[in-house]
Assembly symmetry: C2
Homo-oligomer: 220 residues x 2
Amino acid sequence: MPALSRRERPAKPALTREGIVDAAVRLMESEGLQRVTMRRLAQELDTGAASLYVYVANAYELHAAILDRLLARVDLAPAPDWREGLHRVLRSYADLLFAHPSLARSALSLRPNGPNYLALVDTLLGLLAAGRVPAVQAAWGVDYLLQTATATAAEHAVDTKRDAEAEWQQLSDTLASASADDYPHLHQRAADLVSGTPSERSYWAVDMLINGIIATPTPH
Amino acid sequence: MPALSRRERPAKPALTREGIVDAAVRLMESEGLQRVTMRRLAQELDTGAASLYVYVANAYELHAAILDRLLARVDLAPAPDWREGLHRVLRSYADLLFAHPSLARSALSLRPNGPNYLALVDTLLGLLAAGRVPAVQAAWGVDYLLQTATATAAEHAVDTKRDAEAEWQQLSDTLASASADDYPHLHQRAADLVSGTPSERSYWAVDMLINGIIATPTPH
DNA sequence: ACCTGAACACCGTTCAAGT
DNA sequence: ACCTGAACACCGTTCAAGT
């Protein structure tokens, strides 16, 4: 009874790049980026993997498009103060990546250049300009502000198959038991290396980067 | 003629964790980390993939062991001056990752804790102590010094299947043509965002981080 | 104890053949 | 122009059966 089965489900929508990326974002949010494969996504769209290649060059480009789409959710709202504004924007960006660990792990090699990424960079540049940071220092600094936020999210986004708690414990133990002879400085500061909460460290890192950017002139 | 063929090649050496990691490093250096799969490595060792699981928990652990082994090559030799020492050690570390792009891409999520990693951290802590950087700031700072070096190497280590030149050109073009209305700061500083050579930027980044670490007290 | 082949459940990408 | 099935060349991991 093809007529009936046709009425049971809406007609298969035509493939478009838009629709493919939409489905990819939904699949990423429900199953993680590692499940957003050409084959799995095609299955979701009720077609074959080969069909997607009309709209998407390869799996990498698909993943980059997902990140681009998600960056729309970063909160760029103005803050009372430029330094506070930097903290807020970068925390919003980091939170987004933390909420999508599998994406975070790929974000460093996915170099987005869509409108949402541009808006993010523009906002950060504006905030640094408001803080009277010299132009070139600000431009170079923005890269490292975003890179640190991305890398921190990526580091904390451990594969679901790995035991993050166990790995952390292992590192703590290794540091705590480091021999004073072989590793004198490590031995002395083992506790400091693992001190602070993740959010204390992130906040400190942003301040540290801002201070460094302000204090360090670029060559020529 | 089994006797002959046995003499043609040396007897198949017994499997050991050591031997497996050795072979993995060789394979990584010749074909890239993406080729260091359980199956491909097993083939290299003239056995089946399943045999490796006696010595290695999984593919991730194997990759981490490779990184650990490679960190032995980082140059930790003393420098005339603590700041210069930091520059040298971090450049040596970054050069190592640059020389192995596929490893660089994975290095951020591979959290090594072998003796070579400990020696690297110990050396960085010692250099910061020589610079009279307060203990906790130094301990937190070391993480970001290594993270930035790793992330920079990872960013520049584009997949061989992708066209790094084309992607860079694309980003440059996007920045250069950013509308002054939508992205006022970006439009104004487009040139600054892509200025400087990679090594100028890396050197600046290390200075910037050192200055930030010195200038930023940790909470409590 | 260690090693193996075979199996399970997957990948990205290409391409000739269809509509 | 777009879509498809099938193929090619791969993956990680498990497990029963052997030595």
